[in-house]
Symmetry: C2
Subunit: 468 residues, 2 copies
Amino acid sequence: MPGISFFFEPKSVAVIGASNKEGKFGYYLLRNLLTLGYKGRVYAVNVKGGCVQGLKAYRSILEVPDEVDVAIVVVPADRVPQVARECAEKGVRGLVVVSSGFKEAGEEGKRLERKLVEVARKAGMRVIGPNTTGILNTSNMFTTSFVPLEGLRRGGLSFIAQTGLFAGATLSWMLTTQPFGVAKVCGLGNKCDVSEWEALEYLGEDEETKVIAAYLESVSDGRRFLEAARKATARKPVIVLKAGRTEAGARAALTHTGSLAGDDRVFSAACRQAGVVRASSMGEMFSIAKGFLMQPLPEGPRVAVVSMTGAGGVLASDAVSTAGLEVAELSEETRRRIGRVMPSWARVGLFVDIEPLYEAVGAECYEVALREVLQDPGVDACMVILLCMGGWTMPLIEERRLRRSFLEPPRESGKPIVVYVHGDKESSELAASRLESMGVPAYGSIEECTRVLEAMYFYSRYLRRHKL
Amino acid sequence: MPGISFFFEPKSVAVIGASNKEGKFGYYLLRNLLTLGYKGRVYAVNVKGGCVQGLKAYRSILEVPDEVDVAIVVVPADRVPQVARECAEKGVRGLVVVSSGFKEAGEEGKRLERKLVEVARKAGMRVIGPNTTGILNTSNMFTTSFVPLEGLRRGGLSFIAQTGLFAGATLSWMLTTQPFGVAKVCGLGNKCDVSEWEALEYLGEDEETKVIAAYLESVSDGRRFLEAARKATARKPVIVLKAGRTEAGARAALTHTGSLAGDDRVFSAACRQAGVVRASSMGEMFSIAKGFLMQPLPEGPRVAVVSMTGAGGVLASDAVSTAGLEVAELSEETRRRIGRVMPSWARVGLFVDIEPLYEAVGAECYEVALREVLQDPGVDACMVILLCMGGWTMPLIEERRLRRSFLEPPRESGKPIVVYVHGDKESSELAASRLESMGVPAYGSIEECTRVLEAMYFYSRYLRRHKL
């Protein structure tokens, strides 16, 4: 079987089921291909012929007067096997079947999916899906997705999704709220042919991909998954969100992608062995990805907590120790140096309370604390709790100030930093976006910050243990 | 000892340490009192005399030519005992000591705090704090807080905080991002006198307070806390976030509010016995509070999952069963009724997949599903996963449509609903704010939705077991 890289770099594409009708997937999908900057040749196929979005519509792929690398199929499920036969006859290398109504939809769907596989196997044609939004490659702007992708940024995160729609909404969310860009998305759907391990293998070797995140409802081949994961994690972090953990979840997965979710403990053990970070929610997966994309790995488990709020310091200490990390004990030397700047009534406790430093040095408070804390050899990483309350906190989040406080000291120390930003919507969104635009990850809770550092430490330890 | 209600309804107030200097707590604090609508008499006290924010500044409280119910103290810690003596001499009923530098700050601070308590006890004067933002009462707009409070909405949530600053930033966050209004805030700080059980007792009886949320680092008197909690939970939900759960957290608490955090298992058991919901993070506490404020209690643990995305349906099924709730099994009748509307290839699985319904009935999809699901006697509550992807999903989140889909069917059934809104920033924020303005709580993750329903079910079961 040929590899799957051609799915990401087709020279010519046909949309089978292309539509003029807003509201149809075949409409948005073709529009994405025509407007986002894809430079390959695009052909529209629609049984009714005529003209679709300014393109001549061929009644069948067999009428297209050119070679076709990839056909994107959005016709109703019962027509898919026939369409696949025509594609095979045409010599199409691969299909991305967006349509649903297959294995996930009962007996008739199962039959249709078996038919599709049979046709494809016989012709040596690869299939992604069915029941998926398929492919996105930001380096050539090729996509089979029907969701709006304006504002797409190129970047280091690649995403494997075993779900038709979620990759869509999640991608929209990511594009409009997250600071990192995307390298590639590979939606697998029902995985009738191309499977998670092949996607993992491909993205593991892809130079543009710096971090891989995957949402899976099943693992088709445990051994090959483990193998591909090991190879990938030797080069870059891999984060997996595996659904169908519980009996109810597994039953739901069966009706979603026809997946047999498998034993969750086995999967967990496999992930640990292969250095794969396991996320417990979609949000957590992206939080962790952001940490990996923006910060260096911590060399140990000792997290210094720097907080403008005492309560935050206490909650962070709880969270850090619950996660199996340690709250860093600052050296006598560091305590003395910070203490020198503080008002006489204050002292440095288990966490560094910024409030007395603020009283002493004003807006420089975070900078003073972070410079001292990060040079301490007993500190491997730092969590900061930054409060925003309009008026008096504005000088703390000026761009130049943030750079000197949150970017430079960590960079000089080579240690990772994560920031929990909390306060009024306007100034905390401003602070977070400023931080992230300079490469400092900001999060909405202490628990997120902790989980990110935990995952980064897990991966760092894995690499060291395996001398990678 | 007199009760604490006078702290929330003083007729006259003095700010000791009132300031003209922007950046000082004594500036913002007085400005809040003068601009937010408080109708009582306000006096400024500053050792330098002169004029502060348009008020004559008295050099000492003893010079104020009027009775003073509450004195707000923002002078440095070492001057507080003397100020307290003057307040006692003046016959002030209670002090709110905002200043920090007491028990939390080492030996000298401990001594100052003991002194303060001694003076107050002798005079029968009550003290809130030190080390706190103190009081807020939205029914008369009295506050001792220095954080910006513009845009404050009156509402049903009251908040007990054992922290000086967090109540400030958290309040700013709440005011600018959360749909519910606030009844009262009671910041306790170091709790040298007024303690959590008294605050709980007061808010439990307060008619304006519908839900109580508390952040605590210690419990001063376990027996009285349990008693006050039992009385309060018989009338309204109480949610507690207890910090200092771990050894590190407890050490941090000691330097924050000088608290001895106590045994966490004992506290957990006490909460369970008293029907108190225990939250594990600040965000979770407010998510749960929002659920209680907006929705009726579920009568059982069976949660119907309605999702525009299959992956969401699977993840929600996992989350619901992990939380000790059950994914509702829809009756044959309900399945048949939904099935009649769906395209032939689709079927109703463990969760209701909205996507095929969307293909069949367009923007009415959620309404159709929710009407059927909520009338099913096997369903106690509903979690909806609503996707927003700009263009094609806009008709789904029109105000009238949301009302007919998410407000009316639950209201008619008397069952609670929670909605996870996911997608691009603009339309998901729009959908969430529209939903919440009509009283339907929207959340940013499946896990939050689940945790809210879990907490509501816990409380509902507690009330039924105790026939309350």
